[in-house]
Structure formats: structure tokens, C-alpha cells
Symmetry: D2
């Protein structure tokens, strides 16, 4: 729950930097001096990479420091510790561009969570390689719909158009909600750290086409889904969230697909939530996820 006082603004700062003694002391001391009240803090000290990661939620009086002034103040400290950092106002909704292909269960689920106020997102557009009629039953509540069909020949063009939509809409995050096109390396690089994909079936077990049919052939007893940041290696990006369900020999591929839909939509929704709340932080080919 987001508790918001009318006289306070809540900020989230996340940062990573080379580990060394005194980081927590310096940051918390500085925030204290700026009049901040820390309400949440989580940290991780990666022994392997010797990087330090932190997420802090704090409140500032609305009549105190402005957001710009806050960032300027923090920048000095960040510089000292060579931080990658970002500060965001928790009450601002993240602008999200949603991508979909034929199957709409993840899209419908995200839109529902947005509509009831569960997800702090602002959907600025829906991109599909299928026409609007594919979703005839869906009410997009005024969200701009972009039909961007794609063929082998037009892929580069189509991605340019996507990139234009992304930039012009002011999108801060792309969510591939069962968008069945592989992004080019260039596109993946452009969206690095701000593009989430849901991979059906259980990564990294079953790559390639028709993973549920692969899972069926293999006779597995659990199927799952993986939400991850997109990199140029489509199904191998840093994992944000995973989940599974039990299946039996009596489940055929259609049953797996049905159960898969339930797993996919909840895994993707959780991953988007973690990103929106700045809980997911990239760490090389892995993620730090500061879950509550």
C-alpha cells in the first residue's frame, strides 16, 4: 500500500556503486540533513561483483526541498561514491508502452490492474503486429492503439516506428505482454533496462518454439513462466520473477497452455510491479529484486 500524507512527498532512491565502508552512513546522514524520514531501506552487498546496491524510500515535507533541488543535493554524494542512481517521486505513475500479439491474457490482466489502481502505471500506448479487430472484445479506454505489422522485410522499418512511438509517447517502460516478435539487437539495446518480457514455459529449460509442447513431450511435472529484462539474447535476459504450477501426465498441451496463461499473467504483473516500485535493479546478467 502506498501511504501518502498530504503534506509529504515520498521519494524512492536506488543506487549501485563499488562497495566500500561508509556508504550507508553517508547516505542516511545526508538524507537526514535534508530533512528526510526514511521509511524503507534495503541493501545488497554483492560479494562476487563487489558492487553495493541500495533502495531507500523516504519522505520530505512538500514545503521543503523541491525534487530538482533534492536531485542536485544527492548528485554530489553520488559522485563521491561513483553511483549509478535514480530518484523518483513515488506518486508519479510510470509511463508504459504495452506490446501484444494474438494472445491477450497478459494485456487484459495488466489493463485490469491499472484500471482498479493496483499498478501505478500510465499506459501511453498499445503496440501490436495484429490489427485492432483482433481485440474487438476489448475496451482500451482511450489508450492509443498502434497496428505495426511486421514481415521479415519490414522488420527494421517496423522497429523504427516502434521507437518513434516509444519516444513520442514519453514511455519509460516497454512491456512485452506476449508480444511474439524477437527484437533486433539494436532495439534491445535501445530499450536496455526498460523492457520486460514474459517467457512462457520454464526458462531456461525450453527454448525456441512451442515450449509447452516441448514440456509435454518431456513429461515434466511442473511448468512455469519467467519475466525478465530484454537483452539481445531474447530469452536469456536478467530474470525478475518466476513461478510454476504442478501438472500431471493427464494434462495435454492445451491444458499446459491454459495453466500457463495463469502463471504468465501473475508473473508478468509482479515483474512490472517490482520495476514500477524500483525494486528490480540490474546487476550484470542478473537482477537484485528487493521484495517486501
Amino acid at each position: 500500500m502506498i501511504r501518502q500524507s498530504s503534506s509529504l512527498t515520498t521519494y524512492i532512491v536506488t543506487f549501485s556503486c563499488p562497495n566500500r565502508p561508509g556508504i550507508v552512513a553517508a547516505v542516511s546522514q545526508r538524507l537526514f540533513e535534508l530533512g528526510a524520514n526514511i521509511t524503507e531501506a534495503q541493501q545488497f552487498d554483492d560479494m562476487a561483483s563487489t558492487q553495493f546496491f541500495m533502495r531507500i524510500v523516504f519522505e520530505l515535507p512538500k514545503d521543503g526541498l523541491s525534487e530538482d533541488a533534492l536531485k542536485t543535493e544527492f548528485a554530489g554524494l553520488a559522485n563521491t561514491f561513483s553511483m549509478n542512481w535514480s530518484i523518483s517521486d513515488r506518486s508519479k505513475r510510470l509511463k508504459v508502452l504495452l506490446f501484444v500479439s494474438r494472445f491477450d491474457h497478459c494485456l487484459v490482466d495488466l489493463l485490469y490492474r491499472w484500471r482498479i489502481g493496483e499498478l501505478q502505471i500510465d499506459p501511453v500506448g498499445i503496440v501490436s503486429n495484429h490489427p485492432r479487430e483482433t481485440y474487438a472484445d476489448l475496451d482500451f479506454h482511450g489508450i492509443p492503439f498502434h497496428h505495426l505489422p511486421i514481415t521479415k522485410e519490414t522488420k527494421a522499418d517496423q522497429e523504427e516506428r516502434i521507437w518513434t512511438v516509444f519516444q513520442e509517447s514519453g514511455a519509460e517502460l516497454a512491456v512485452l505482454a506476449r508480444y511474439m516478435q524477437i527484437l533486433s539487437n539494436e532495439m534491445a539495446t535501445r530499450l536496455s533496462g526498460r523492457c520486460i518480457n514474459i517467457h512462457h514455459s520454464f526458462l531456461p529449460g525450453f527454448k525456441g518454439a512451442r515450449p509447452y509442447h516441448q514440456a509435454f513431450s518431456r513429461g515434466v511435472k511442473l511448468i512455469g513462466a519467467t519475466a525478465h529484462y530484454v537483452t539481445s539474447d531474447l530469452d536469456e535476459g536478467p530474470i525478475i520473477e518466476q513461478d510454476v504450477e504442478r501438472i500431471s501426465h493427464a494434462d495435454d498441451p492445451d491444458d499446459l497452455i491454459r495453466k500457463g496463461r495463469d502463471i504468465e499473467r501473475r508473473v508478468l504483473a509482479r515483474a512490472v510491479r517490482y520495476h514500477v516500485e524500483r525494486r528490480a535493479i540490474l546487476n550484470g546478467n542478473k537482477t537484485i529484486v528487493f521484495t517486501p
Copy 2:
């Protein structure tokens, strides 16, 4: 629970055969004529292989048909339908040969379940490539221990000795309880359908050495274990049971190994139970598992 009347013998029959109409009718009619009371029955009609699978638990009066006579009677019917079949007296404990290497958590767990009467097994031997001193803290309760060390050069010899132990002990099932040697194709073939392995980490995701370190490097959010029948392809045999636990970025390889131990022992114990109760039936490179 195994409910046993003093005047009744409980049998389990399992069979598979090409599917065709009338199998259930014929089998249940025949069992009825033989005086059997069916207490459990499960079936599966594999659309892909067009094979039919069934498991029936039934009771016969102790002063009625003998086990041999029952088998003779059933053989006729089985012949008509070209069945692969087996009948066993549920009160007889299955003779099991246990294999272990350095890590003993699965072995200790299986022995505990045997000792308190949870698993209907009769451990006829423990085979290890490590000496008895490795398990100095363990009381084997008189179960014969076979130290069968192995090197690249002596592998063939060692497996011959294993095979001798298996045969002479009257073992009906081999359980590789974290036995870290790969069986030769010949050995795997000899033990086909009667050798269960536990594969740590989540198959088929991470093959090869140190799977938990692989899982850690990959940043997965779930780890698991798979119990399967052994085939010549060590980690690819028909899966009997799988389970997972959630991990986070804060879990290092040692934490994964610790959580893995818990998953491994419960997954292996369930798989052995399913085999002992004749719930697991091979179906090509998959299994039918008639869970309760």
C-alpha cells in the same frame, strides 16, 4: 495409509496395452468373478501413443485364490489385450539397494522413513564409492554396506560388482540417493525401469557439473530437483517427480545447496513412494504417475 484386514490380501495390478474398447469392462468383470473387491482404480488413455494404462488395487480373501493362481488367471486376460502387466501383494516390502556418495542427506532421509514404517521398503544394501568411515555418524541398522570405489580404469569392474550385489541381494529397485557416478549405458539398460535417480537443481535447465552454481550465475528465482528413472542419458530419464523453492539474489551458492538438500530429499522420497506403491508407470520417455 494401508488398511489391511486380517482376512484379506490386498493386491496391486498395473498394466499397459494398446487402447481399444472394452478393456476396463473385461478387467473389472474378471476381477469380480475371481472374488476381488476393487478399492482403487486409475486409468489413463494416452491419445498420443494410443496406449492404455491402468492401476487397480483390490482385495481377495486370504482363504480364496493364491497369488500364483491369481497371476495365472490374470495372464489369460492379459494375453488377450497384449498387456505389459504386473501384480504384487501390497503388504510385501520392496527390496531396495541404496547408492550414495559423499552427501548423505537423501540416504539419511530414506532410512528414517523406512525405520518409522513410512516407506514400505526393505533396504537390502548400501553401495558407496566412499568408505564406511565417510558415514561414521550413521547407524545403518545392520544393512550390509558395500564400499565399491571407482576410477576411470575400474569402472567396468565396479559395475560388475554392483550388478552382483544387486542380484545376490534380491534387490528390486536401485535408488541413487545422490550417488555421483554416471552409470554406463550397459548398467543403465540392466536396471531399466528399476533405478531412480535424484537430479539436484532444476532439470532440464542446468545440466553438467555444479548445477547450483550455474543457477546462481544465471540469477534464477526458483531452484528445484527432479527424480527420474535412469536411462543411458543420465539426466534425461522419464521424470517421476519435481519440486521447487523460491530463492533471491541474497542467496549464495551455499544457500542454494542448503535449500536444494530439502527439495532433493522430499522429491526423491516421493518418487520412491510412487514406485513402491506401483503408482509410477513408464510410458516411453515419460511416466504416468497415478497420485492419490
Copy 3:
């Protein structure tokens, strides 16, 4: 998956009767004689109540026995064994009347599963004690909406109107999809065995109002939901399905409510599926659920 041959009709028969030897033999023999091919069968022998329960899925040629003739044939056998029984054509959608109050997540979820053909239901009406405007964002796709407000004084009247809607719509099942009114004993009795409720939070742990707040106060580490048949004792009817999710001290009541929504909708959807597929059978104050 429902595999349907164009020349075959698939039926589901379920029955319960006092246990005695020969039931399976008689039923499977009779179905065989009628030309049926059994594709699924599950049974349960309740030692406590000495009742026998069975569910059989079978195919009949479309140009063979009619549904009426089939039922007549089966009735004779059913009489012999004093069965409670029912036969249904699996391709016919079950007529369902949906009930909702302020929170629409379960309703939206069921409608989605219906729309994509996942649930074999035919929603014949939506009943709410709130007006149509409460669901201004929802497209009911032409399903009749019945605003039936209720006060302490009008409860009896309102329930009569519900009963009229239920009967006139031809509904075969009532689904209380977070309908926050307690049915009277009389109404519960009328709908006995054909009314499913979802109880948020984990029954029977937290009864009464605001169960998530109770769970929060108690500091539980898991919350859940229970779907059950409605009896006059609202939250104590025979349980069909349950599930849980992990929570922590950092989750406040609003987080519990959010996580609860996800659990509730999947638990209710599974329960409706089990009922629709005739997998759930009442057994006193419990259920038999023949899961795949």
C-alpha cells in the same frame, strides 16, 4: 483439452452409491455393451461413509444411442445399485448465473475465461446488489444484468427475485463471485449443490468481517482463499479448492487484499471448472474432487 470427434458425442457420468463388490464391473460392462468407449475414469471408495463415487468420461457414436435412450438404459443399472447419478453431454455449456457486489475481480476473471473459451459456461445473467454504474468500465457482452438491491427489510423479497431470475434464466449453477450478501437458509437449501462461493482469506481460520485485517493482526505468514459449495452455514460449506500465497511483516492489509485478489480469482475459477467438468461431487460436508 476437450477433444471432440465430429462423429462421436462425449458424455460424463458421475454417480455415488453404497459400496459393494461389482459396481465397476457392472458399469463398465454395461457401457461397453452400449457401444461406449471409456476415455477417463476415476473412483473413490470412502471407507468412512462406505459410499462409492465414480466419474466416467465416454464416447458414443453420434448415429448410435440418443442421450435420452442412454439415460434410460443407465437408469436401470443405477436403480440396481441405488445410485445418485447424472449424465451430461460434455459439449453442452453449463448455464451459470453470476453474483457480484462491489469488487469485480472474480467476475472480470470468469467473464474473460468464458470469452476465450477456457470455461465451458454460458453466463445467463449477472446479479448484483449494486447498480449497473458500479461496473461502468465493464462490457457485459449482452449478458442480462439484474440490479437487485437489498436491505434487512427486503431480504426475503430480494431472494424471491433472485430465485425467479435463477429459474427463468435456466441457470444450472450460481457463482457467488465476491457477492457479499449471506444467503438465507431457505435460499441456500434451494441452491444446494449448485451454488459456489469464494471465501477470501484462509478458511476456517478467519471468520466474520474483514478477514484480511484479522490475518494482518494475527501476523500470519500465508494467506489464502477457499471456494466451497454454499450451505446454510455460509463459510462452512464443502470445500472444493484452496490456495495460499506467502506474505511478510512488511505487507499491510492493503497488500493482503491485493494478493488476495489473485488467489481468489484463481481458486474460484478452478472450482467452477471442476464443477462444470463434473469433477466435484458432494460427499456429506466434504467433496470428492477428481482432478486430472
Copy 4:
């Protein structure tokens, strides 16, 4: 995993205090000045009680501040913020007194985890109301065994003897590993915050005797276990950990008891681990559990 440098000592400090701005800054600043390197930190700001909770893991050079000097230094700070606090050397094993009655699965499991070095405990005694012969098959590895039988008349005396054992053994934690005696209010108070119990079946659903039989009668689809701190209200103490497993109509009470054993032992082991690692902190009738 516990990473230990030979030249560093790792300490865990936990504290709770009334919330106010500046706590994190002051504590991290002070630790920094003392030469500490913080490797883990977790905090929780309880909006309801307005209490603040924190757990910090930090390293100090072995040739720097002594443990006593460290505590003296911290005491000053603690005083300023009215903290309840404790500091412990992570390499020191916690002295644990284990309690057991007839069923030994939790005891065997804890001893195994201790023996392989998984749990940082030092078992200083085993107390049972049953004689040593009950555990004839168990090797206690030299841990003193105390047979303290109990009757209604001798309860007060028996608890005095327990208290003597607890004190004389230097025990820091009592673990009721399926010890089936209810502690008196006085005893519960004496052991407040340092006594963990495992409650079989799913609290708070089924209180009183034979909870698995209650769960069976109720026809639940999930059973579970709860580990909690003992208070004078035996099954109602602050919950540390819970888990569940799925059951079906085909599981009888003995199956529930069998599945329950697996849940109980893993839930209790996790709870003990959380306590040993100072992750579990009392917060009124709830707990904060800083899981990794």
C-alpha cells in the same frame, strides 16, 4: 552461507525503538566510526505500533574493538533512542535445549542439520517426558538426555526441573520439537522470546487435539504447520513461519500425518534458523522476520 574472514569478526545487531527521524543515520554513522563494515541491513517501520526495527550485520577487525568494548559503545547510542537491542558474534553457536515427546521426526531433522553444520546451534540437552528407550534407534552423539516424566500432579515439579536444566545447561533457546505438553503460564513467561514451538496442522484453523483428524473431517484441500514463539496461550504465540501442502479427498488421516511430518520438520527448521541468525524479532503478538 557464512563468509568468515580470519582477520574479521562478524557481528549481528538487532534493535527496536520508537520511530523517529535519524535512527539509521545515527546507527550507521556510529558503526562507521567504530571501524565496522556493514554487509547486510534490513529495517521495518511499523506504522501501526510506530516502532522501528532493524537488523545489521557488520564486520570488525579482530585486532580492533573487543566485543565488550563494542557493546559499551553501542549502549550509549541505544540509550539515546530507547532501544531494545542485542549484539552477537555470528560465529558463536546458539545453545539450544531440545524438547521431544513420542514422535521424533523434528528432533531427528534438527540433529541432522546440526551434525552437518547447517544450523549454527549447539544442542546442550534433550528433554523428554518419555524414557531414553523410546529413542533406542537414535544416536544422540553425547548430548545429555533428560527423562522428565510428567503427570497432572507433578507438572509444577517437572517444570522446575526443566527450568533447572535450562539454566544449568546455559541454554539460550528452547525448541519444542513436537513436545506434546502444554507449558504453564509461568514457564511460558520464563521462556518468553526464547522458546519456539511447532504446531501441526494449520493454525489458527484447527485447535485442540488431533488437528489432522479435524482437517480430514473438514475436507480441507491444504494442510500446514506453524512455528511460533511460545506464550501462555500455547497455539497462539507470534508466528515465525508457516507452510502448507496440497491434499485430496483420497488422503486419509494417516496420509495427512505423513505429509504433516514433512511440513513440520521444514517449518520448524526454518524458524530455528531465523531465530539463530537473529532474523526473527518479536513485535507484540507478531514477529518481524527479516528473511534473506
